[in-house]
Amino acid sequence: MSKKSLIACICTTLVVVLLFLAYFAGLFGRKTVEVEPISTEYHRQYIGDFIENNGHVYQYNTDLTNILFLGIDTEDTLNRFTNPAYAGQSDAIYLLTLDRSNNEARFLQINRNAMVDIDIFDPDGNVMLTMPGQICLQYAYGTGSAQSVWAAKKSVSNLLFDIPIDSYFVMNLEGINTINDAINGVYITMPQDYTVIDSSMRQGARVHIIGNLAERFVRYRDINEFNSVADRMERQVLYIEALLENFSQGSTYDFYYAIEPLFDDVILTNLDWHGFDELTNYNYHNCRVDALPGEEVATDNWEEFHVDNDALEQYVIENFYVLSE
């Protein structure tokens, strides 16, 4: 090659190399735009969709509807903010499960002394700390109204391995007599002698619970007797069964409009007209009433109920889940 063409060759090559270098240098300086993924997986409302147990996979039984019933130990209106610890304890806790496939209803009694982790909230509704305590305290340590309901609902759901709770019906002490009178009372056949509550309540007697008999019947507890909570729970379930039977035999219209003025005061609920109407489709007479597995333990001052979590997990799987294919 001639010298001139060699120089031309080198120059051209240099130019091309420089172009490449410039290009790649530009690349290093360039910011790569991050494409953030758009979430397409919809968040499940509850985690307990699938459970694995003993080598089998179970799926939540979507034929079930769960309604949480809470009775709050306070005379004040439920629909207001309260400072944490003053919202009232949920002394009556029942989970009503309705099975659409066979129109059966059943109750799960949740002992108010069941030991769980309680979230202590601050007045702004933020969790300040979490500590063990009786499950009835969770409602009290919320800030009242919807926030306490949600905290109590969450604690029951967490206790039962995160099954979904679809609706709630919360009532204060005033609600007992008020609702009872609104429906002209209920009739209950006494399964044992309760004459300590009222002289008419002999064993086997069919008593018309009206006026303040309702409150006495469901609230009475002999605090000097150990595990008197269990006895009270039995009476409460009797009452709720009788209430629901009365309701499903009567007219939804009459019942709903009798208690509707009490909403957001004595009653908090997210059941609407259709929810109540749906309740009438189920059979409450002598329906199954289950209790939490576990045992009462007396400590120095307070009663505690220690839940048997293994037995409870089995119970939840058998009653709320079906085998997944």
């Binding site: 090659m1 063409s5 060759c9 051209t12 090559t13 091309v16 172009l19 490449f20 290009y23 735009v33 494409v35 953030e36 993924p37 758009i38 979430s39 997986e41 919809y42 968040h43 409302q45 509850y46 207001r80 903010f81 702004d124 509704g125 933020n126 800030t143 009242g144 109204s145 919807a146 926030q147 309901v149 949600w150 609902k153 969450k154 709630y168 997210n270």
Partner: protein
């Protein structure tokens, strides 16, 4: 031609082709990115419009009367703006995300969204800028307040709600109509905020374009106390037109006795923001 020259020319051609090829690839790639972005914007919109998993909140029905008892014990019935009756079931919303603390609704517009805030470090102040109401990463984000600056909705004299301006009108996409559309303004004057214990009605009084400076930082610092220091500056600046420029309701004067809700969104120009100022009228 001799061997070297052939090789030389061939080399040049290959090099030039390579460079052209790379440039071509880059152009196509950037075009693809632009298309992707376009698609993302569309799918963000459909996230909020067509296949929306967003919870729906019913509208209050009928008129509402409430019994008011005065100091003498005399009771009288007062008709309450039905829009103030709280239709939100927070127990359901909290099952999804406990950071949902309120609900914002401007009836008649697409603005019907949960309001979120994240309590945590200063770094998490804009946690919900790119997270949806479930807390999952999403380019559109949520409407949210900065918990660092706004901690007590009831007491704070200014609360600023942030939200993206999405094409197609989702989130705060329709707010610019307050500036230029008088009909829209008149039809959508009321803004409602629902919270667990209270509900509020605000009236839209201004739609302003301003700089990018954080409004709460400029006029409030960490916590704004009514009638003290920086909030007074906001009131003065607003009345002097120094907060921003745009439409202001005729005859409206800001005062330190009022509570303000400010909806803040972007406006195409990244150095400026658009705010809609509303004043609290009534609460339940």
């Amino acid at each position: 031609m001799n061997k070297w020259k052939v090789t030389y020319y061939a080399g040049i051609i290959v090099a030039v082709l390579a460079v052209l090829g790379i440039i071509g690839y880059e152009i196509l790639e950037s075009r693809r990115q632009a298309e992707l972005n376009q698609l993302r914007m569309v799918s963000i919109n459909s996230d909020y419009t067509n296949n929306s998993p967003l919870p729906t909140v019913p509208y209050p029905q009928g008129t509402v009367e409430t019994v008011v008892v005065d100091e003498n014990g005399e009771s009288s019935t007062v008709v309450v703006d039905e829009g103030l009756v709280n239709p939100v079931d927070f127990t359901q919303l909290w099952d999804t995300n406990y950071d949902i603390y309120a609900w914002l609704r401007i009836p008649g517009t697409p603005i019907d969204y949960p309001m979120l805030h994240r309590l945590g470090s200063f770094e998490e102040t804009d946690y919900y800028l790119r997270r949806d109401y479930r807390g999952e990463v999403s380019a559109g984000g949520s409407i949210y307040t900065q918990a660092y600056y706004n901690q007590n909705f009831n007491e704070d004299p200014i609360t600023v709600i942030y939200g993206h301006h999405l094409m197609g009108g989702a989130l705060f996409g329709c707010l610019d109509s307050y500036d230029h559309d008088e009909g829209f303004r008149d039809a959508n004057r009321n803004v409602y905020v629902y919270m667990p214990y209270h509900s509020y009605r605000y009236r839209v009084v201004a739609c302003l374009y301003r700089s990018n400076a954080n409004l709460m930082y400029q006029y409030g610092g960490m916590y704004v106390e009514a009638g003290q220091g920086d909030f007074e500056n906001f009131v003065t600046d607003f009345n002097n037109g120094a907060v921003g420029s745009g439409w202001v309701e005729e005859g409206f004067e800001a005062s330190i006795d009022d509570h303000y809700l400010i909806l803040s969104t972007c406006c195409g120009d990244t150095s400026r923001r658009m705010i809609v100022v509303t004043v609290r009228e009534e609460m339940l």
